[in-house]
C-alpha cells in the first residue's frame, strides 16, 4: 500500500458496533444533486448574479424557451443559483400549465400541441380534434388539451409551441408542424413611429411637462364613467384617486392576463395598437405618481409579447419612461392569475394564490407597496377619453347605460369577434345586428355571460340590457363582456359541464370551498339526475366562503342553469 511506518490500521469489518456493516450509507449528499457544468450552463443563459426572487418565472421561461422544457437538472441548477430550495422552484413551476416539466430520465417532445377545449372551441368539436390529433401525431409530439387561448372567434383554436393555429384542423396543424413553423406570427400593427405621427404620446408629454392637473385627469375618467373593463367594473377615476393619496413608492400593475373564457378584446385592441395601452399606462403612472409599471401578459399571447417587447424598447429610447419604468411580466398559464391579487403573486414569482383582501391590494400591493391595478383595455381607453372628452365616451351607451363596451362574441354566431357597441345593448340586438345572427341550422337557445363566470341566460331572456349592474338581479353579471352563444344543438348539461371542468382545472387549490367544491361540482353535474338541494348547498359554500372571485363565481353556471333551464334538466 505505501512506504509508511507501522501504524495501527483499522480495516473494514475489524471493529464491532451495532450498526457496522449492516447497511450501506449514502455515497453523496442527500437529495438530488446538480452538476457544476449544468449550473454554468444555466448561468450563461440567465446572466450573472444577483438574481431577483421575482424573476423566477422569467428564468423558468428562459430555460423552457431554450431547451423546450423544464428538465429536473436545469431546475435544480436554477434553484442553486437563486439560492432557493428545489421544492421552492418546483412548486412554482408546477402551478402553471405552460411549463412542461420533464422528470428524470424522460425527454420532452420537440413540439407541444395544445388544443383548446373551452366552450367556443368545444362547440366546434375541438374534443374530436384533440382525439384526431392524438391519433395522427402519435408519440412524436405531445398533444394535450388546453384552456381558452383567447382566439374564440377563430374556433377551434390550437397552438403548436408558440404558433397559434386558427380554425384548426388536423391538416393545417400538420402543415405548420411539418414546416417547423413554430415561432409566433406577428401581424401588422401600428408601430411607434406611426403612433407618434398620428398624434400619439402628445398627451403623455403634456402631462410630463406639467400641463395637466392630476385631479383633472382623474375627474375626466370619472365623468366618462370609465369602469374596470376586466370585469370587476370598479370606477377607474375613484381608483386612481385613492392611489394618488397613498405614500410613495408606488407601482402600476396592468392586468393583461385575459384568460376568462371567451374573452379576447384586450388582445384585439392591443395587437393592433399597442401604444395606446403603453401611453395609457404611462399616463396612469404619471397621474398616480408611480415609478414602476408591470404589464402582466398571459403567456399564451406569444406574438403580443414580441410586439410589446419591441415597442416598449422604442418608448424607452424615446425617453418617455423616465418617470416610470416599464416591465413586461410573463404569465405562465393560469386563469386564476387574472384575479388581481393572484396576479401580484405571480409577478412576484410565486404560485398564483389570491391574497386575502385585508389589507387591500391598493394599499399593500405588489412587493408590499401601494399599487394601481387596471385591466389592459381600461388603460387603452384613457388617452382617447382625455383627448376627446368624457362625453365622447359616455354618450356611446344605450338604454341609459354610459359608454361603449367591447363584447367578445363567440359560439354559434355567423360573425364572431370583438363588437365595439353601446353598453346596455341587449343580446338580441347584439346577435342579430352585429353578429349576423345564428349559424345556419342552429336555433338560438342561450348565452353564457362574462365567459364562464357570469351565468347562463336563455334565449327567452335576450332583451336585458347588458352592462354592469343590470344583470345582477337575474343572478348574472357582465364580467369581461365575453358572450358565448349556444344553440339547440347544445345540451345545457354539456355547456355547464364544459364550464365546470374549466373551473376545476383552473382553481388554484388554496381554499377548501373552491378546490374541493369545483371538483365535487363536476361529479355532481355528471350525474344523470342533478341533486338540486345538494348542488345549492355546494353553491352556497363556494359563494360565501371562497377566498376569491373564481370560487365565488364558479357556482353561477349551475345556479342559472337550474333556474332557467329546469325543463331540460328534468327538475321540477
Amino acid at each position: 500500500m505505501s512506504r509508511q511506518p507501522q501504524v495501527p490500521t483499522v480495516h473494514v469489518g475489524d471493529r464491532l458496533h451495532p450498526g457496522a456493516g449492516r447497511r450501506k450509507g449514502r455515497i453523496k449528499p442527500r437529495g438530488r444533486g446538480v452538476e457544476q457544468s449544468v449550473i454554468d450552463e444555466i448561468r450563461t443563459l440567465i446572466g450573472e448574479p444577483p438574481y431577483e426572487r421575482r424573476r423566477l418565472i422569467d428564468y423558468l421561461h428562459f430555460i423552457q424557451d431554450r431547451y423546450g422544457c423544464l428538465s429536473y437538472p436545469h431546475m435544480a441548477a436554477l434553484a442553486r443559483l437563486m439560492q432557493l430550495s428545489q421544492a421552492e422552484v418546483h412548486q412554482v413551476a408546477s402551478f402553471y400549465s405552460q411549463f412542461v416539466i420533464v422528470p428524470d430520465g424522460k425527454t420532452a417532445a420537440p413540439v407541444i400541441l395544445r388544443v383548446c377545449d373551452s366552450l367556443a372551441c368545444a362547440l366546434q368539436d375541438s374534443d374530436d380534434l384533440l382525439k384526431q390529433c392524438k391519433e395522427y401525431f402519435g408519440e412524436d409530439i405531445d398533444v394535450v388539451r388546453a384552456p381558452c387561448m383567447g382566439r374564440c372567434d377563430c374556433a377551434p383554436a390550437a397552438s403548436a409551441n408558440k404558433r397559434h393555429i386558427d380554425h384548426a384542423t388536423v391538416e393545417n396543424i400538420a402543415q405548420v408542424i411539418d414546416a417547423g413553423d413554430l415561432e409566433p406570427v406577428i401581424p401588422e400593427y401600428r408601430n411607434f413611429n406611426d403612433y407618434v405621427a398620428a398624434g400619439g404620446y402628445r398627451l403623455l408629454q403634456e402631462c410630463l411637462e406639467g400641463k395637466h392637473e392630476r385631479q383633472a385627469i382623474i375627474d375626466l375618467l370619472s365623468d366618462a364613467s370609465l369602469r374596470g373593463l376586466g370585469g370587476a367594473g370598479y370606477p377607474t377615476g375613484r381608483k386612481w384617486a385613492s392611489v394618488l393619496k397613498l405614500p410613495k413608492p408606488k407601482i402600476v400593475a396592468v392586468n393583461f392576463d385575459e384568460s376568462e373564457m371567451g374573452t379576447f378584446k384586450d388582445r384585439f385592441f392591443i395587437e393592433r395598437d399597442p401604444h395606446r395601452l403603453l401611453e395609457g399606462t404611462l399616463i396612469a403612472a404619471w397621474t398616480c405618481e408611480t415609478h414602476q409599471a408591470y404589464i402582466y401578459l398571459r403567456d399564451e399571447y406569444h406574438y403580443v409579447r414580441e410586439i410589446l417587447k419591441t415597442e416598449i424598447r422604442k418608448v424607452e429610447n424615446a425617453g418617455l419612461t423616465k418617470h416610470c419604468r416599464l416591465f413586461l411580466s410573463r404569465g405562465a398559464g393560469a386563469y386564476v392569475c387574472g384575479e388581481r391579487s393572484a396576479m401580484l403573486e405571480s409577478i412576484e414569482g410565486k404560485r398564483g394564490y389570491p391574497r386575502l383582501k385585508d389589507p387591500r391590494t391598493t394599499v399593500v400591493g405588489l412587493f408590499g407597496i401601494p399599487t394601481l391595478i387596471n385591466n389592459a383595455e381600461t388603460l387603452f381607453w384613457v388617452r382617447d377619453i382625455i383627448e376627446q372628452g368624457p362625453d365622447w365616451f359616455s354618450k356611446q351607451g344605450s338604454n341609459g347605460r354610459p359608454g361603449p363596451r367591447a363584447f367578445s362574441v363567440s359560439g354559434r354566431v355567423k360573425e364572431p369577434g370583438v363588437k365595439l357597441v353601446a353598453a346596455g345593448i341587449a343580446m338580441n340586438e347584439l346577435l342579430y345586428e352585429h353578429c349576423g345572427g345564428m349559424v345556419d341550422g342552429h336555433v338560438f337557445k342561450g348565452y353564457c355571460l362574462g365567459g364562464s363566470a357570469g351565468g347562463i341566460l336563455p334565449a327567452s331572456m335576450a332583451d336585458i340590457p347588458l352592462d354592469f349592474d343590470t344583470l345582477e338581479e337575474f343572478g348574472c353579471s357582465i364580467g369581461s363582456a365575453a358572450i358565448t352563444v349556444f344553440s339547440d344543438h347544445d345540451p345545457i348539461r354539456d355547456v355547464v359541464r364544459n364550464l365546470m371542468l374549466f373551473f376545476e382545472d383552473e382553481s388554484c387549490g388554496q381554499c377548501t370551498p373552491c378546490r374541493v367544491g369545483t371538483e365535487k361540482a363536476v361529479k355532481l353535474i355528471e350525474q344523470n339526475n342533478w341533486d338540486e338541494s345538494l348542488l345549492n348547498d355546494l353553491c352556497d359554500v363556494m359563494q360565501h366562503a371562497s377566498i376569491c372571485g373564481l370560487g365565488q363565481a364558479a357556482p353561477a353556471p349551475i345556479r342559472t342553469a337550474m333556474k332557467y333551464f329546469r325543463n331540460e334538466l328534468g327538475l321540477v
Partner: protein
C-alpha cells in the same frame, strides 16, 4: 427595531354582543379565545412561529353581514363580530363536510384524535353527502414518518413548518387545484428527498396525513396511544429542546416538541426519533466485574457489547460497588492522590456532575477531574475567561432574531445545533445579514448573504484583517472602548501588520470581501457572533477566540439585545458540567482551585482538605496514564476510546491502567477496558437538571423505569463515595441541587420547585419572579473595573501542515443524525437507518485526482494510524481537505488525529492535521453504485 416604536391604540369592538378590547396586533380569533370562545380552526396553528393562512375557511365569522376568516382578520374599532349566526354555522359546517368527504373514515383514520376530527365532531359534521375523489396512496419511503395524503386537507401547515419555522424548504405544494399535492423537493418520495427528518411537519399536521410511523399499523391505522405524557429535555445537543415523552407500558411511543425558551416546539431528528436507544438489547442491566481469566488488556481489545460475558461476569450491586471502591482505594492508599483521575460526563445532570467532582476532590484529594469540554470549547472558554471574565454566552442564540448582522464562524449549526440554526434562518428571512465563515460549505449558504470559505487554519489572518479594517476606518465604538475595555492601544499597534491585502492570500478571501463584512459587522446597530469547533478545536483555538472577542469589544457589539458572543456549546449539559466544577482548574462556578480564598470556602463547605494544585486535563490525563503516572480512573458517561485524539495512544493507556471503573448505559469501547462496569440509568429514566448553551437551567424528568438493575448516576456515585468514607446522604437530585445552590452564586436564587413548575430558568437570576437575565455584560464585564481585555492574536503555524507524505488536511466533523461517539444514536432504529455507515467526505477534484468514485473504500492514513472507510462525495468539503465524522468506532477518525494542544485551553486540534488518502485495492473494495456521472452536487 431601533429608535421609537409606533404605538398603536387598542381596539374596542364587539364579539357576540360582548364588548372586548384587542391589542393592535391581535386577530379576532385570538381575542375570541381570550374570552373563552374557541372558534374552529384547522390551517391556523396556535403555536409560536406559525402565521394564520386563512385557507381552510373553517374559522369563518360574520362581520357586518359578510363572512370573514377570524384567524386573519384584525378587528377595527366598533366592529360587530358574530361568531355563531346561522350563516356562519352553516358555512363552517359546509366547509367541514367538503373536507370530510375525502378523508378515510374515522374508524380507519391515521389520527382519530387529530384536531381535524375534534373539530368535525364539535361542528357536528363527521359524514359527507358528496362523492369522493380518487385517494392517493401511502408514501412509506421514510422510515420514521408515514405520509398518507388521503388525509391531507391542503392546509399547508407542513409547508409553514418546514419553510417558515425550520427553514429547510423541503416541502412544497406541487401542481394546482384539486390535483395539487404536498411533495418533497421535486415531488419525490420523502425518503429520497433532502428532508432532514426534523418532524416539524408531523407535529404541525392537523389531520394525521403525516404521522410517526411507529404509531400506525400496515393499514396505516392508528394502533397505539400513549397513556402518559412526561415533559423533559432532549439529551443530545446544547440547544436543550424541551420535549414531551409520550409513553405507554414503559415504552416511549413518540416524542413531541414543547414550547421551551430554546426551541418553541421545534425539534431535530435526534430528539424526534432518537429515543429508542434506551430499549436496545445492549443496555447494561447488571453490574459487571472483569473476569480473572479474561484475556490481558491490549490496545486492540474489543468486546462485543451484545456479549460482555466473554470478559466480564455479572455481579450484584454490593459486590460491584465494593470492588470498585476497593480497587480505587487500593491505588490511592498506595500511591497517593496524584495517580487518580476521573472523567465526568457532559451528558449527565448538573447534580451528577457536581457529585462527581466533589467525590474526586474530597475522597481522592485531587483536581484531576475533567470532561469532554476539553475537546470542545476549552479554548473558547480560556479566551473568554481571560478576556471578559466569564466563559458563558453573553446572549442566547434566539438573540439572532434581534440582530441586524449575524456572523456564524467555524460552526455547522445545521447539523450540530439544528434548532438553533432554524432561528438563524428565520433571522435571515426577516432581513438580517447572515455572514457565514467556514472552510467547508454548509446548508446555511442558501440563506447567507455572504459565505466566506477561507483556508483551513487561517482564522486569525481573516479575523485580524477584519479588525484592521474596523480600526483603520475608525468604525470602532470609541465610547464603549473607553468605558468597558483596556488594551485597545496595544491592539491598534499590533493590528498594523494585518491589512486585508496582506491577509488575503493567507486566508483565501479577497480584501474587498473582508472589508465588506467587517464594515457590515461594525456599523450595524446590532451584530452577534456564533462560533463552534472550527474556531476552538485548533492549536490556536484560544487565539481564534481572542479575535472574536476583540471584534465584539472594539465595536461595542456585546451586552445589548441582538448582540454578543456565543460559543455554541455542544453537549446537553456541557455548560452545566463546567459550571458545576467538573474542570481541573475550577471549583463550581469558576472559582479557581489555586485561589486560596476559594479553596478555603470549599474546604469549609465540604469539610475536607482540598488539593491546591491545578489538575490535569483530559488529554494530559491520557498522556500521563500512558506513561504510567495515572494508575486508576473512574469514568462516568465518557468514551475517550473514540472521542479523544490519537486513540491508539488512548487505548494503550487504558490497557495499561491498573484499575478502571466505567459507569455507562452501554458497554462502550472504553468500558471494554474496565475492571468494574456499573450500569447507569439513561436520561429518560432519571430526574435531574441540565444547563444548555443559553444558560437556561432546565428540568429533565423520569418517564421510564430503568431496565434490569440499572441505577441513576447520582446514586452510584453516592454509593462509591460512601464506600470511600464520605458521609453522603442525598435522598435524590433535589438534595444535591439545594447543596449546589449554597456554593454556586449563579443558581443560588433558583429553586427546585420553580424548575419543576417553570421547566426552565435562565441564570443569572435574582429571584422567583425574575425570568433570568438572557443578555449579560450590559454594564461591563466581571473583570477588574468591569473592563474586558484585548489580547492580540498572532498567526501561528498550523499543527502538522500537509507535506509530500501526507498531502491533505484531515478535519473531523459530525453527522446530523448522530451524537458524539454514536453509543446512543447508532442504537436508535431511525437514526441508524438514516446514517448507517462511516463515511469520509471529499470534493470532486480530490476524488478525481485520486481515482476515487463515490462509494469506493479508501485508506486514510496519518502518522498516528490508518483507517479504511467509504468515500462519500460532498461538494461542500473544500479541495485538499478530507472531512470525517468522528463517532464511528469501525472507522474512528481519532485514530488519525494528534495530541498537539492549544497552550492555553489545552484542547487538541481535531480540525487540522496532515493525512494521506489512498484508494484501496480492488479486491477489498465493496460494491457500490459507482457510476461516474453522479458527481452532481
Amino acid at each position: 427595531m431601533s429608535g421609537g416604536i409606533i404605538k398603536r391604540d387598542d381596539v374596542h369592538f364587539m364579539i357576540d354582543g360582548e364588548e372586548v378590547t384587542a391589542s393592535p396586533y391581535e386577530t379576532i380569533w385570538q381575542v375570541a379565545k381570550r374570552i373563552g370562545k374557541l372558534i374552529p380552526h384547522l390551517c391556523y396553528r396556535d403555536a409560536p412561529g406559525y402565521r394564520p393562512d386563512g385557507n381552510c375557511r373553517s374559522c369563518l365569522v360574520e362581520i357586518d353581514g359578510a363572512l370573514e376568516v377570524s384567524c386573519r382578520w384584525k378587528p377595527q374599532p366598533g366592529m360587530q363580530v358574530l361568531t355563531d349566526t346561522p350563516l356562519a354555522r352553516k358555512t363552517r359546517a359546509s366547509v367541514m363536510e367538503l373536507l370530510v368527504t375525502d378523508q378515510p373514515p374515522r374508524e380507519q383514520a391515521h389520527d382519530p384524535d387529530s384536531p381535524f376530527w375534534y373539530w368535525a365532531e364539535k361542528i357536528g359534521v363527521t359524514q359527507s353527502r358528496y362523492p369522493r375523489r380518487e385517494m392517493p396512496v401511502t408514501d412509506n419511503s421514510h422510515l420514521g414518518i408515514a405520509v398518507n395524503l388521503d388525509a391531507c386537507i391542503h392546509c399547508q401547515l407542513c409547508i409553514l413548518g418546514c419553510s417558515e419555522v425550520q427553514g429547510h424548504d423541503v416541502i412544497g405544494m406541487h401542481g394546482r387545484g384539486i390535483r395539487a399535492k404536498i411533495g418533497f423537493d421535486f415531488d419525490d418520495p420523502m425518503g429520497d428527498s433532502t428532508c432532514v427528518s426534523c418532524g416539524e411537519c408531523v407535529q404541525a399536521c392537523p389531520t394525521g396525513a403525516l404521522m410517526p410511523s411507529t404509531l400506525l399499523d400496515e393499514q396505516q391505522v392508528l394502533t397505539k396511544r400513549p397513556d402518559k405524557k412526561i415533559d423533559s429535555v432532549c439529551p443530545y445537543c446544547g440547544v436543550g429542546c424541551q420535549i414531551s415523552y409520550n409513553v405507554r407500558d414503559n415504552e416511549i411511543l413518540y416524542v413531541d416538541g414543547q414550547d421551551g425558551p430554546a426551541n418553541n416546539n421545534r425539534l431535530c431528528v435526534k430528539a424526534r426519533f432518537g429515543f429508542d436507544y434506551v430499549k436496545h438489547p445492549h443496555r447494561l442491566t447488571r453490574p459487571l466485574i472483569r473476569r480473572d481469566d479474561a484475556p490481558a488488556k491490549t490496545s486492540e481489545l474489543e468486546i462485543d457489547p451484545a456479549d460482555p460475558l466473554t470478559h466480564f461476569r455479572e455481579a450484584s450491586w454490593e459486590e460491584a460497588l465494593d470492588a470498585a471502591a476497593a480497587g480505587l482505594k487500593k491505588v490511592l492508599d498506595r500511591d497517593g492522590s496524584g495517580v487518580m483521575a476521573g472523567f465526568g460526563s457532559a451528558k449527565c445532570s448538573n447534580e451528577e456532575a457536581y457529585l462527581f467532582q466533589k467525590l474526586f476532590r474530597t475522597a481522592f484529594g485531587t483536581n484531576n477531574v475533567d470532561h469532554c469540554t476539553r475537546l470542545c470549547h476549552a479554548s473558547s472558554v480560556a479566551a473568554l475567561l481571560e478576556g471578559i471574565g466569564s466563559g458563558a454566552v453573553s446572549a442566547p442564540f434566539t438573540a439572532a432574531l434581534d440582530a441586524d448582522v449575524i456572523i456564524v464562524i467555524g460552526a455547522n449549526p445545521v447539523e450540530n445545533h439544528p434548532v438553533a440554526a432554524t432561528y438563524f434562518r428565520n433571522a435571515a428571512d426577516f432581513g438580517a445579514t447572515l455572514i457565514v465563515m467556514d472552510p467547508r460549505l454548509n446548508e446555511l449558504s442558501r440563506h447567507a448573504t455572504h459565505f466566506l470559505q477561507f483556508k483551513p487554519g487561517s482564522d486569525v489572518a481573516l479575523l485580524n484583517a477584519m479588525l484592521y479594517t474596523i480600526i483603520r476606518e475608525e468604525l470602532y465604538d470609541r465610547h464603549y472602548i473607553e468605558r468597558y475595555t483596556e488594551g485597545f492601544e496595544a491592539l491598534k499597534v499590533h493590528i498594523e501588520d494585518y491589512a486585508p491585502e496582506k491577509m488575503a492570500p493567507i486566508c483565501g478571501i479577497d480584501a474587498n470581501t473582508i472589508r465588506t463584512v467587517a464594515r457590515k459587522y461594525a456599523t450595524a446597530h446590532r451584530s452577534i457572533i456564533f462560533w463552534g469547533m472550527g474556531i476552538s478545536q485548533s492549536i490556536h483555538g484560544t487565539d481564534n477566540a481572542r479575535c472574536l472577542i476583540a471584534l465584539a469589544m472594539a465595536t461595542g457589539q456585546v451586552g445589548r439585545e441582538g448582540t454578543g458572543l456565543h460559543p455554541l456549546r455542544g453537549q446537553n449539559n456541557v455548560q452545566g458540567a463546567s459550571d458545576c466544577g467538573l474542570i481541573p482548574f475550577m471549583f463550581p462556578d469558576y472559582q479557581a482551585v489555586d485561589n486560596a480564598n476559594a479553596r478555603a470556602t470549599f474546604e469549609t463547605f465540604w469539610n475536607a482538605t482540598l488539593d491546591p494544585v491545578r489538575g490535569l486535563t483530559v488529554v494530559e490525563i491520557m498522556d500521563a496514564a500512558h506513561a504510567g503516572k495515572i494508575k486508576a480512573m473512574y469514568m462516568m458517561g465518557e468514551n475517550p476510546a473514540i472521542s479523544d485524539p490519537d486513540i491508539q495512544h488512548v487505548r494503550e493507556a487504558l490497557a495499561r491502567m491498573e484499575f478502571l471503573v466505567s459507569q455507562d448505559i452501554f458497554l462502550t469501547e472504553t468500558a471494554a477496558f474496565a475492571d468494574v462496569v456499573l450500569p447507569a440509568a439513561a436520561w429518560p429514566e432519571k430526574d435531574g437538571t441540565v444547563t444548555n448553551t443559553n444558560r437556561q437551567v432546565q428540568m429533565g424528568r423520569r418517564a421510564l423505569e430503568a431496565p434490569g438493575e440499572a441505577m441513576p448516576d447520582w446514586w452510584i456515585v453516592q454509593e462509591i463515595a460512601r464506600r470511600l468514607g464520605l458521609d453522603w446522604n442525598y435522598s435524590g437530585p433535589e438534595d444535591v441541587f439545594n447543596e449546589m445552590r449554597q456554593c454556586m452564586p449563579s443558581i443560588r436564587n433558583i429553586t427546585w420547585e420553580r424548575l419543576m413548575k417553570d421547566n426552565a430558568v435562565t441564570y443569572p437570576c435574582s429571584g422567583d419572579d425574575d425570568p433570568g437575565q438572557a443578555i449579560v455584560f450590559g454594564d461591563g464585564f466581571p473583570m477588574e473595573e468591569g473592563r474586558g481585555v484585548f489580547v492580540p492574536a498572532f498567526i501561528t503555524p498550523d499543527n502538522e501542515p500537509p507535506d509530500s507524505d501526507y498531502p491533505m488536511i484531515l478535519s473531523t466533523a459530525r453527522n446530523l443524525e448522530h451524537w458524539h461517539t454514536g453509543s446512543m444514536t447508532r442504537r436508535s432504529t431511525v437514526l441508524d437507518a438514516l446514517e448507517p455507515e462511516a463515511v469520509a467526505m471529499m470534493c470532486k477534484a480530490d476524488m478525481l485526482r485520486l481515482g476515487l468514485k463515490p462509494g469506493d473504500l479508501a485508506r486514510i492514513s496519518t502518522r498516528r494510524g490508518a483507517i479504511d472507510i467509504r468515500i462519500r462525495y460532498d461538494y461542500r468539503t473544500p479541495e485538499g481537505v478530507i472531512n470525517i465524522p468522528f463517532g464511528w468506532s469501525e472507522a474512528p477518525a481519532n485514530l488519525l488525529t494528534n495530541t498537539n494542544l492549544d497552550p492555553f485551553g489545552k484542547i487538541p486540534s481535531a480540525k487540522y492535521c496532515a493525512a494521506r488518502v489512498e484508494k484501496l485495492l480492488p479486491e477489498i473494495r465493496a460494491t457500490a453504485d459507482t457510476s461516474l456521472e453522479e458527481f452532481a452536487e
